[in-house]
Symmetry: C2
Subunit: 300 residues, 2 copies
């Protein structure tokens, strides 16, 4: 394809708008990292007999030479079309999609499908507005091995091109649930045995104390932490969903009231607060560490 | 001030450019949070008889009514001028500086002044390029109680308006060292008894294992961790400087070679890597926690 004004090019470019994405249930993955992860997931799904993730791939010959894995995966889909840089630029939201983009089907799943799988760690974004923050939190959740990421109603569209970019491919790794109602979500999580913790600067519990208590249980045995007044009702090693709030306002009172506990990331310096992406990272890694470090891993 | 084309307005607006900032050794703090933190530091410095931080404050009457603390602090400087929103918008890099901005003197200090103070935790950005990332890392370093933040030569200008905004006031909390030569820096840190750790996805040591070893030493006593092959040469509770690399390339081989150890943040999911701000947050909080949790804090 060499004509940036072709109908097909315009059709793809329309996916920059949320309305077109929602109508077609499609979104754009731009650049080698996102497209490679989309193609990998697509190959997995096809091998399972599930429906395709990648509907179309557009790539420049240079890009396919440079990334043989992308070329091989894209060829297998039978949906690869060569396009020159002008066409790619006209299709993409980024100034330069680095030679490749893919039209993908939306990936979000209902909450039930996630909870059925024995969930241990969930990240919930409550009305997070910035696409970069949403993408960063999804990427951090993937890094911490979270089983799912949930965005409540009123959150930014995770299929926004900037959000997709910020996930650095993690959108294709972690099941995502969209448009959740917070009260229903909290009830469903609790019903599945998942504790709900609200990350909140003014939280009642201190994340580092919870980590210490968890480590003490692991190293010294269950009893040690219990009889010195540890917060045994809030154990980081147990299945946990973290609520993270809006950038400007944090979590609302109603959202906090839905949680079993409110937990603060300690501030050791003079900073008044943490950016929501930073707070989410610290909380999710604290849970991952408490859940995954097997007993005796440090003491032989 | 009501004339957005006045010479003074243009002079302030010029601080959007690095060349003007460097020539005048001045930069802009925009918005209530940054200006308040600038004014607080300014008041502290004046009380100590040190030189001023805030050279000029421009604020709208509405903003001063809304933020009485800013009004009081700004009045004390004797350098407050009322300005209308048009003037403020013409001065500022942001579309809307929310009614207030301040011209500040640059704050960076020589490395010696930081090391003299018995440093425990330092964040070093090695050629970090994105102003948002640099600001986020500085804010995370402040949150984790770091004693200093260092940017090596070739890093983004921390006085860039976007970087200043991303610090959310932390630029006025933590001493910053600019333009450091990595080799000299590593030598100076080591000379001051500060271990140098490189945060690297392919690092030899695992951050969570280091945290476990540190927790075990704390809870079970020194000996326990030593005789089971723990990495006793790398103790998170000891004074530490973390090196964080460029967004695209990570740390270079030469930079890694300057460190005592390379340390990876574990990836528990399918993510290939962490964003540098996320990695920095996890590393700095791991150090803060190991350094600050006193012996016996959890076991009574």
């Amino acid at each position: 394809m060499t004509n940036p004004r072709a109908d097909r090019v315009r059709d793809v470019a329309k996916l920059a708008a949320r309305s077109a994405r929602n109508r077609r249930r499609q979104f754009l993955a731009e650049g080698p990292q996102a497209v490679r992860e989309a193609l990998r997931l697509d190959a997995e799904r096809r091998a399972e007999g599930s429906s395709a993730v990648v509907l179309e791939v557009y790539a420049s010959p240079e890009c396919l030479r440079r990334y043989p894995e992308i070329a091989a995966l894209a060829e297998q889909t039978g949906r690869l079309r060569l396009a020159d840089d002008q066409v790619l630029a006209a299709m993409a939201d980024t100034v330069s999609p680095q030679g490749v983009l893919a039209v993908c089907t939306m990936l979000d799943v209902p909450l039930e499908s996630v909870l059925a799988a024995g969930t241990r760690l969930v990240a919930v974004m409550c009305r997070v507005q910035d696409p970069g923050n949403a993408g960063t939190i999804l990427r951090a959740a993937d890094s911490a091995g979270a089983d799912a990421v949930v965005l409540t109603a009123g959150s930014v569209d995770i299929y926004n091109p900037k959000a997709v970019r910020s996930t650095a491919g993690s959108l294709f790794h972690v099941p995502v649930v969209l448009g959740a109602d917070p009260a229903q979500l909290a009830a469903d999580l609790r019903g599945a045995g998942v504790a709900v913790l609200a990350a909140d600067g003014g939280g009642r519990l201190d994340l580092d104390e919870l980590q210490d208590e968890s480590a003490a249980r692991r190293m010294l045995g269950e009893s040690s932490a219990e009889h010195d007044g540890g917060s045994v009702a809030c154990r980081l090693e147990d299945p946990t969903a973290w609520l993270f709030g809006n950038e400007a306002q944090g979590l609302g009172e109603e959202e906090k009231a839905l949680a079993d506990e409110t937990v603060a990331v300690p501030l050791y310096g003079q900073a008044e607060s943490l950016n929501v992406g930073t707070a989410a990272t610290v909380c999710l890694y604290a849970s991952a560490r408490s859940q995954r470090r097997g007993a005796g891993s440090t003491t032989g």
